[in-house]
Amino acid sequence: MRRIYLDSNATTPMRPEVAAAMIPLFSEDFGNPSSIHWFGQQAKSLLDEARQQVARLVNAESSEIVFVSGGTEADNLAIRGIAESQKAKGRHIITSKIEHHAVLHTCKDLEKQGWEVTWLNVSPDGLVDPEAVRQAIRPDTVLITIMHANNEIGSIQPIEEIGAIAMQADVYFHSDGVQSTGKIPVDVKKLQVDLYSISAHKIHGPKGVGALYVRKGTPVKPLMTGGGHERNRRSGTENVAGIVGFGRAAQLARERLESETEEMRQLRDRLESGLKARIPSIHINAEKAPRLPNTSNIMVDFAEGEGLVISLDLKGVAVSTGSACSSGSLEPSHVLTAIGKTPDEAHGSLRFSLNAMNTVEDVDYVLEILPGIVERLRELSPYYKRA
């Protein structure tokens, strides 16, 4: 069966160049970068090169890139690292209601440990109001953490404005950039963030590796004790193969960002206008907001998201949903809830997330099969009346 992958906010396929760059690391270039002999120094130079490649993607200095195991660790290191180092100054954190679980559950955990957290609402388009951030700042606020782009609906937050507010108030500012990096231009200096999380496997790199940008002088307490790797910010022998793959993926993302962003946007727009023309009673979330070029989150009335996902999967198309029926927790997506959707509305949500390797044929295949799938499920609904 023809398989079409439209779930790239979950993970992306590795580019062939990335896999090729990693191969030597599994054989001849096996050294430990901490060793002073030839083998170690060989690995060290590969590590340094990758660090530079990742730094360039977000306009950081090499020394400001800390390699970690992925987006979740980057978020944990940023939030817990600042919370721990600043607890004498204050124990108040500001975040939003639509963060990824890596931020949301970390903040919840800190709440249990005595930190106070302000959970900012978002607009119906999934946007944080910078003015609300400003008003939430207190004398004991030590960290603001707001994601750059949302993984479910793709809304892009006004990070630059929030960055200016944080800078003015002298509060550390972290942004989870896992979804934005590689899809839109990212410049940590322009955004005025102190900390920025990146994941390799969302930008056609390998799983198990990511980075935290730590602006020079930002005091992050490490999560783990050990040999003091990564300038005492993340102990543990580096995942050199993963990091080299990450570096190559970052380099390619930077080189191709402009053209690929435009290609993805065109495919996404073709998908959305095609679906709107072919399927009545669908709604696109965050449609009017600044939005990732690859993400389309739609709500289908009188059909349930998990059933849509399974039906598409049976025809070879991989997508995801925020419906309660697909989650282990049996609660609808906290993001859709936060933008004001009822559990009923969230029930019919479907997320398409594209990558640069998708084609017009992929999109057209979805346009061909989805109307029939929706109609079939609607015919089964006790509430649906055919127009």
Binding site: C325, G328, P382
Partner: protein, 119 residues
């Protein structure tokens, strides 16, 4: 795939889907956990279910269990139908993943609700 091929078959090709214009017992239930909805039409004669149809708005497991349960109760006496359990339905479809076990409750509830409607 977390589902059995039998369950997927009942999801893709549901038996007994639709409405029953001459039904004399109708039950509508919703799952308070996830919001799935099922409506069941029964035609009862001589203490027996002679025909049944369903409509369900819900996930694949909810649709498949609705369809299977509707099909299985045709021909049953009312007390036999009342005794159908969610476990029985789930098991007949090759079992459900733990997080989806609640889906099968929709069908067993719909049967009991429809039978209550029959006077």
């Amino acid at each position: 795939m977390a589902y059995s091929s039998k369950l997927l078959d009942y999801f893709e090709n549901p038996r007994c889907a639709g409405e029953l214009p001459d039904a004399n017992a109708i039950g509508e239930v919703s799952n308070p956990v996830c919001g799935d909805v099922m409506k069941l039409w029964l035609k009862v004669a001589d203490n027996r279910i002679v025909d049944a149809r369903f409509k369900t708005q819900g996930c694949s497991a909810a649709i498949a269990t609705s369809s299977y349960a509707t099909e299985m109760i045709i021909g049953m006496t009312l007390s036999q139908a009342r005794a159908v359990t969610r476990e029985e339905i789930a098991e007949a479809l090759g079992g459900l993943p733990q997080s989806k076990m609640h889906c099968s409750v929709l069908a067993s509830d719909a049967i009991r609700t429809a039978l209550k409607d029959f006077k």
